[in-house]
């Protein structure tokens, strides 16, 4: 267990330093199984902890709060899997290669390393800015990882990352809509509000209700 946590910490910090050796280790598949996946899930959970105001405002119970963090980690990792698929497909079409999907997936998951510090988004005043920095940092980790994977071809990595992101964006608004709806439904079940609702929206909703809302969910 201790060794697993040590590897997670090492993977997170080295990825954030954009260390090519960390990416090479991921490509080679060395280290304990599940470390990369755990970093991605922890990144998703930590990010939601940073953005947890929405859970508090919806008065979720402590038990459901923890469940929401874990579920967000899973949903976040699934979204990384889809992004990795888009990147992998782009690479296959534009730059024919034999790189297996799982390698791209592992590198994209490692890109979630900066989000392990997503809980810092909780900080008043500076939190939103930190969130933006972490997003850019995460993108840079993915880009650096793919550059290593593409044997130093930065432009190929940038094209795959950008087109992969574009595909996800277009799909989200078109054929991916049912998946997005399903994700939003899970979110609403957990928190009691829409995914993009602001705190002010929720307070206005409370004010328009006849009675003060009861806490959502059980312990």
């Amino acid at each position: 267990m201790f060794e697993f946590l040590r590897m997670m910490w090492l993977g997170t910090t080295e990825a954030m330093k954009l260390n090519p050796r960390a990416f090479q280790a991921v490509m080679a598949g060395t280290g304990p199984e599940g470390v990369i996946l755990a970093i991605a899930i922890l990144g998703g959970a930590s990010l939601l902890l940073g953005q947890s105001v929405i859970l508090f405002v919806n008065r979720v119970s402590p038990g459901r709060f923890l469940l929401s963090l874990f579920m967000n980690g899973i949903i976040f990792t699934l979204s990384l899997a889809v992004w990795a698929l888009a990147i992998w497909l782009t690479g296959r079409v534009l730059f024919p290669n034999e790189i297996p999907y799982i390698t791209v997936f592992r590198l994209v998951c490692l890109g979630a390393a900066p989000y392990v510090f997503g809980f810092l988004v909780l900080l008043p005043y500076a939190g939103n800015f930190i969130g933006k920095v972490l997003s850019v940092w995460s993108f840079l980790v993915v880009l650096a990882g793919l550059t290593t994977l593409a044997a130093g071809n930065f432009w190929a990595a940038l094209v795959c990352t950008a087109i992969g992101w574009l595909i996800i964006t277009v799909m989200s608004a078109t054929i991916g809509r049912p998946i997005i709806n399903a994700r939003n439904k899970v979110w609403k079940q957990l928190t009691g509000s829409e995914m993009d609702a602001s705190v002010q929206d929720i307070l206005t909703q409370f004010a328009s209700e006849d009675q003060t809302p009861k806490p959502k969910g059980g312990a």
Partner: protein, 366 residues
């Protein structure tokens, strides 16, 4: 060895500050979510919490709610300079119901020594402050309250925090005889961080009270809070030598000239925000807004000049009768002069004692 210890202490301090800042929003968020076993249900925007009747309705024409600076431990335990100043303000602002019962750095009006985590530590710090008003550990209280100001100003947490404080203001007003729905104007007087909390609370206060809400900020550090859309007028009293009050305009982008469509800049353009210079006043120390030993070019002590400026504003807005104000000032002037003289004598005695101690130490060393 010494360097590494100092480095360790410095790192520890930075980590403690980050942890403190991370925990700052949880107090109000946990209260809202009902995680701390609250007996009372959190308020609903737009609805005033009714407080048990039995308090006769005030005959005062207007009401002034004082929200202290970040040195406050609870509504009663505020720095001595604010207490002294407040006592003179009561005498020089006739016909005004003054409500000093709100602790602006808690959503439940619970002071730091109330039943909460670290209350014993804060009680110990309070004791130290009573013995020495300039105790260095006051820094911890200031920092804790500063984080709450940041929570009030944060668009994510502010709505919850400010709703909680607004609800406590409404309760405190009722306990002093103010009737919700009477339409009587309410003025929030916020010093330093209290300025931001006043602005934040205004968002919810006006719909709850159904009355005009004004804000007088004394060296207030304020963000581009949406509260500017929910108040009648904001007067920002600032000292030319007060760099703290200007932090708000530096730290919050909505107050920058680059964003003319921000709520703040639109309110400024519409004349809802007025900047009032207090001359060469500072934020802290003897030359601050509550000082008795520093004087304006007109010969008024800073403390009296600040009170009188507030009085002038309230007369201008029809909240105080001008004749009553003049009479109250005339009646209070001798007491104010005597108090100023006493404070000057006290400061000179302290200075002389310090010099004497210094000379004695120099002789011992020689």
């Amino acid at each position: 060895m010494i360097l590494s210890t100092l480095s360790l202490l410095f790192t520890g301090l930075i980590l403690l500050i980050i942890v403190g800042a991370l925990l700052a929003p949880l107090e109000s968020l946990g209260w809202w979510a009902g995680w701390y076993g609250e007996k009372e249900t959190p308020p609903v925007p737009g609805r005033a919490t009714a407080v048990a009747a039995g308090v006769p309705e005030t005959t005062a024409k207007s009401t002034l709610v004082y929200l202290s600076g970040i040195g406050a431990i609870d509504a009663d335990s505020i720095p001595q300079e604010e207490i002294d100043w407040g006592q003179f303000a009561l005498k020089r602002l006739p016909g005004v119901l003054v409500v000093p019962d709100v602790y602006p750095y808690s959503v439940t009006n619970a002071g730091l020594t109330a039943d909460r985590g670290f209350s014993k530590m804060y009680a110990w710090m309070e004791q130290r402050r009573l013995e020495n008003p300039y105790d260095a550990l006051q820094f911890v209280i200031n920092l804790r309250n500063l984080f709450q100001v940041a929570v009030s100003a944060d668009r994510r947490y502010g709505p919850i925090y400010n709703l909680g404080v607004a609800n406590e203001i409404v309760k405190a007003l009722q306990l002093r005889g103010y009737r919700v729905g009477s339409g009587k104007p309410v003025t929030l007087l916020g010093f330093s961080g209290g300025g931001q909390v006043s602005l934040g609370a205004a968002t919810y206060l006006q719909p709850m009270l159904k009355a005009p809400v004004r804000i007088i900020s004394v060296g207030g550090v304020m963000s581009d809070d949406p509260g500017v859309d929910h108040m009648t007028k904001l007067y920002h009293l600032y000292g030319e030598d007060d760099p703290v009050q200007s932090l708000g305009e530096k730290l919050y982008a909505g107050r920058w000239n680059w964003f003319p469509n921000s709520e703040w800049n639109k309110a400024l353009k519409a004349g809802k925000i007025e900047f009032v210079s207090m001359g060469a006043m500072g934020h802290n120390g003897p030359r601050n807004y509550f000082g008795w030993t520093a004087f304006t070019p007109e010969g008024k002590s800073h403390a009296i000049a600040t009170i009188d400026k507030i009085g002038d504003i309230m007369v201008q807005d029809g909240l105080i009768d001008p004749a009553e104000l003049q009479a109250a000032r005339a009646a209070n002037d001798p007491e104010a002069k005597a108090y100023e003289a006493a404070r000057i004598a006290e400061a000179e005695a302290a200075k002389a004692a310090k010099e004497a101690k210094k000379n004695k130490e120099a002789k011992v060393e020689a």
